[in-house]
């Protein structure tokens, strides 16, 4: 009973945190806009021409950016928790299903070779800029599909094979990306670097609309996955004994994660550590039960990514830091601290 009240309190706190961070993210930025004006703008898109720029900043820059951050953060954190449950390993991370590797290679290919290929085909360049996120998304999916096929024999998917094949695939795509880096010019190299560091800077309503159908499924699936993952913690055979359709669960989880992380990478580049650290931190606070862990990860992941984004755009304003730098700068020490202080999260 006490545990239930405690987790209720934690969920209330997490929800408040998301709300507070979202308000902060809409409320602050390089353009100073008083809160009273923001309220007016959000309530009814003001026709006052003097506030047209403020309206644009709030409605077309900060709002979509905040929403995109919440979605991508939630998607990454839930995906991380799903992967850790599926691989029964607290160190698993969404990258294990090959999404980032595939997306990274596709992005490098498009950045370095895209315009050249277009030219050699006699088509007018440059590539439309949707080509990069779309290509990254498809590259991520293709990599996951490849890994899945490699790891599946007669209808059973071996997560261990998938993990090892994922490491091989990571090395392979890393080498191929390296080749592309070698073939790239200075500008392409910098594009590649910035892309791989991630940013929510390009957020727009179009991006939100394109990303939502890919990330929302994993979030909506959360209530249906907790029990299965809890059973899976005991092992695949045991989960089957407990009535879980294990192969279907694995397939669904891998597909949902690939689509969500692929969309996240496509929308905001590679953002590390959210998927790894958020489930960890939460396990220390609310325990490992996936029925609580998954929804909590969605809330905390979204809040943390948006918070990191607020930092990324305030610290060096009017310029901004790549968000991947912020999440790794904060995430890595937190992760180390968890390692050293909370053995519970690792060995029990």
């Amino acid at each position: 009973m006490r545990a239930r009240r405690r987790s209720g309190l934690i969920f209330a706190a997490l929800t408040l945190l998301v709300a507070a961070v979202a308000i902060l993210s809409v409320g602050v930025g390089a353009v100073p806009i008083p809160p009273s004006r923001i309220l007016k703008l959000v309530a009814h898109a003001s026709a006052d021409p003097a506030s047209a720029r403020d309206a644009l900043v709030i409605l077309n820059i900060r709002l979509p950016r905040t929403l995109l951050g919440l979605m991508v953060g939630a998607g990454l954190a839930v995906s991380g928790a799903l992967m850790q449950g599926l691989f029964r390993n607290p160190l698993a991370d969404p990258a294990l299903v090959g999404v980032s590797a595939g997306a990274g290679l596709a992005a490098a290919t498009i950045i370095v070779l895209g315009d050249g290929v277009l030219r050699s085909l006699g088509l007018p360049g440059p590539l439309p800029y949707a080509a990069l996120p779309a290509g990254a998304f498809l590259g991520g999916l293709a990599a996951t599909l490849g890994l899945y096929l490699v790891a599946t024999r007669s209808g059973r998917t071996s997560v261990a094979t998938m993990l090892l094949a994922g490491i091989a695939l990571g090395a392979l795509t890393g080498a191929m990306t390296g080749l592309l880096v070698f073939a790239s010019n200075d500008r392409q190299l910098r594009d590649l670097t910035f892309w791989s560091l991630g940013s929510l800077g390009g957020a727009s309503w179009t991006k939100v609309a394109a990303t939502a159908p890919a990330i929302l499924p994993v979030l909506l699936a959360v209530p249906f996955l907790g029990r299965g993952l809890n059973a899976l913690v005991l092992g695949e055979a045991e989960a089957f004994h407990l009535g879980i359709p294990v192969e279907r669960l694995k397939r669904a989880a891998i597909l949902l994660v690939a689509v969500a992380v692929g969309a996240g990478v496509a929308a905001a580049g590679v953002i590390g550590f959210v998927g790894l650290v958020v489930p960890h931190a939460l396990r220390l606070v609310i325990g490992p039960d996936h029925r609580r862990l998954l929804p909590a990860a969605a809330l905390l992941g979204g809040a943390l990514l948006v918070l990191a984004d607020v930092a990324a755009r305030l610290v060096v304003a009017p310029a901004e830091l790549p968000i991947g730098i912020v999440t790794a700068l904060v995430g890595a020490p937190v992760f180390l601290w968890l390692l050293l202080s909370g053995q519970r999260g690792f060995d029990g």
Binding site: G29, R53, I61, P128, Y129, R187, D191, G201, P318, A319
Partner: protein, 295 residues
């Protein structure tokens, strides 16, 4: 670069030159020049300053390194290719003039959506490219007469340079080293801005096997056998010939080492392709051909 709107605000000449790739027309204020300009790109900023528009520049990017005080005095919106929409808008520009490659495109789209025109200026590493750039920036800033004067002046320098170049009888071959990291040298190949400045200075590029800037190995350096080495100077610490041509290194066994032929120049000056380019090319030429008769 992705803007499909029709340029219609400036002279036919710029239009014909195809220099300006995109701008959002703003009918209401078309008559008066922009009062607050975000200047993105080293050469763009340099030109605006030369045209006397320094007061009107309200934002620059990290590549705006000349004049030296720019980055100290003006708000910096970050790297040219990783801009922030709100960051740019927070400085309240009514015109953005950006060098080719500014982005990301989504950010520029948001800035345009806010009613701020964004003009992209192409940067081919040729004298014509420099003159077109001056004229374009001038037109955009409403300083066409000043720009035409500056273009004429720079054009005359280029012509002078061409005459000097004609006097070079035996062309030297030089290697342009952009940076050294982990003992690997990043050098300028075909079509790079380094290649362009060498050509202007009447020097052959010692490496021709690849495009753009690439890291090359020791054997490739020996095979290139440059008569001279050009390096970038960052602030006060200039590379010394003793270090660069140290015995045992690949560079130490090139013809350049025998002559101690090392030139160190400021990176933006050398490779920026702005108004100072003819002077930079002339300095480079004099450094490589010390015996060339002067005007």
């Amino acid at each position: 670069m992705t803007d499909r709107s029709t340029p219609r605000l400036w002279s036919r000449r710029a239009l014909l030159a195809g220099v300006v790739i995109g701008v959002v027309p703003r009918v209401s204020r078309a008559a008066e020049p922009a009062a607050r300009i975000a200047s993105l790109g080293g050469a763009v900023t340099e030109i605006l300053y030369r045209l006397g528009a320094a007061e009107r520049v309200v934002a620059v990017d990290t590549t705006s390194l000349f004049p030296a005080n720019v980055l100290r005095e003006k708000p910096n919106v970050g790297y040219l290719r990783a801009l922030s929409a709100e960051g740019l808008l927070s400085l309240g520009p009514d015109l953005v003039i950006a060098a080719e490659g500014a982005g990301p495109p989504e950010v520029l789209a948001l800035v345009r959506e806010a009613g701020v025109p964004v003009s992209i200026v192409r940067e081919p590493p040729t004298p014509e490219g420099v003159l077109d750039k001056i004229l374009t920036v001038g037109h955009l800033a409403g300083l066409a007469p000043a720009a035409e004067r500056l273009a004429a002046e720079v054009g005359a320098r280029f012509a002078e340079l061409a005459r000097a170049r004609a006097r070079v009888d035996r062309r030297a071959r030089a290697l342009v080293i952009l940076s050294v990291a982990n003992g690997r040298m990043m050098v300028g190949g075909r079509g790079s801005s380094a290649d362009g400045i060498l050509a202007l200075a009447g020097i052959d590029n010692a490496v021709t096997g690849f495009d753009g800037y690439k890291p090359i190995g020791d054997e490739a350096i020996l095979a290139a056998a440059p008569d001279a080495v050009v390096m970038m100077q960052n602030g006060a610490d200039a590379p010394s010939p003793d270090g660069v041509f140290a015995p045992g290194t690949a560079l130490g066994q090139t013809p350049a080492a025998a002559r101690r032929a090392l030139v160190a120049m400021d990176g933006l000056t050398l490779l920026g392709f702005g108004p100072r380019t003819p002077d930079a090319a002339r300095d480079l030429m004099r450094a490589i051909y010390p015996d060339l008769p002067r005007d």
